[in-house]
């Protein structure tokens, strides 16, 4: 009888004995945290899903955590989101013809500055 109770007790508290596969490692936690901060919440559009309390944000966080634990790379997870929700969902603009100017502008600016500075100091 005591044996049975012990087994049942262990079974009931085995919540803490979840297999290591379902808990993220430190590295995985880091990747998870950094990804969720880069994903825009589509319901409360002024927050990332990291901060948002919206249901969709919670669902996406859970989905992303699962994928991180399953070993998917950041690139794969981001593509997963892009395929379903489009460019808007990521805070880092995808590099494409649309965003060419956006991404090149700092370099152009630097080149302009260097050129101008050399001109005026000669």
């Amino acid at each position: 009888m005591k044996y049975l109770i012990t087994i049942i007790f262990l079974f009931l508290t085995s919540n803490s004995l979840i297999s290591a596969d379902e808990r993220p490692t430190t590295d995985q936690q880091e990747m998870y945290q950094s990804i969720i901060q880069e994903v825009r919440c589509l319901v409360c559009q002024n927050q990332s899903i990291a901060e948002s309390n919206a249901d969709l944000a919670k669902d996406l966080r859970a989905q992303i955590l699962d994928q991180v634990i399953a070993g998917k790379t950041k690139y794969e997870i981001k593509n997963y989101l892009l395929d379903r929700y489009g460019d808007f969902v990521l805070y880092q603009p995808v590099f494409s013809e649309k965003t060419l100017f956006l991404w090149i502008s700092p370099i152009i600016l630097l080149i302009l500055i260097v050129g101008w500075y050399r001109k005026i100091s000669n």
Binding site: L42, V43, D55, L56, D59, L60, Q63, L82, D83, R84, Y85, G86, D87, F88
Partner: protein
């Protein structure tokens, strides 16, 4: 010549901002338009049987994501019922009950009517995520081969039906 740069830049900025004010609020465009609908395998509402995306192929159909907690779904329900009941419109409507409870959904449909040929349960929401759903209701028009042709976010209205969806259905049925 340099002196004109600031005012020119300002003019460009000013006109852009002016134009943006008159911009209509744009919905988030779906990247799924023109692509195959995502594969899924969901149970029928209140039953044990499963339906997959393959089962839906073969007809032009409307997939409608809805929930009992969603106010907009009540708004469009009347329209969906009339679409289902009108004999000249042969458009199967497939409902996906999103993040809901089966009993509540069955009760809701009993009270308000059931326009759906099939009702599938997505309580966890993973299929909805695959469809890029971010708020209920959302409706997807799929063609015979299962490609998503049109997506509408928010309650379906008669103008949308007449102006956007119906013509597209005509096109697809040819």
């Amino acid at each position: 010549m340099k002196r004109y740069l600031p005012i020119i830049f300002f003019l460009v900025l000013f006109i852009s901002l002016l134009k943006s004010l008159f911009q209509d609020e744009m919905d988030i465009p779906s990247p799924l338009i023109g692509k195959n609908m995502p594969s899924f395998s969901l149970t029928r509402l209140g039953e044990n049987t499963t339906v997959t995306d393959q089962d839906i192929l073969g007809e032009v159909a409307l997939i409608n994501v809805w929930a009992t907690w969603c106010v907009g779904c009540k708004e469009e329900h009347q329209l969906l019922l009339s679409l289902a009941e009108e004999p000249s419109i042969k458009l199967p409507i497939i409902g996906i009950n999103w993040k809901d409870q089966d009993q509540l959904a069955i009760q809701w449909l009993d009270e308000l009517g059931n326009p759906y040929q099939e009702i599938l349960s997505d309580p966890i929401g993973n299929t909805a995520i695959d469809f890029g759903v971010y708020g209920a209701p959302e409706s997807f028009l799929i063609d015979r081969d299962g490609f998503i042709r049109y997506k509408h976010i928010g309650p379906l209205t008669l103008p949308i039906w007449i102006n956007e969806i119906q013509p597209l259905i005509e096109e697809l049925k040819q």
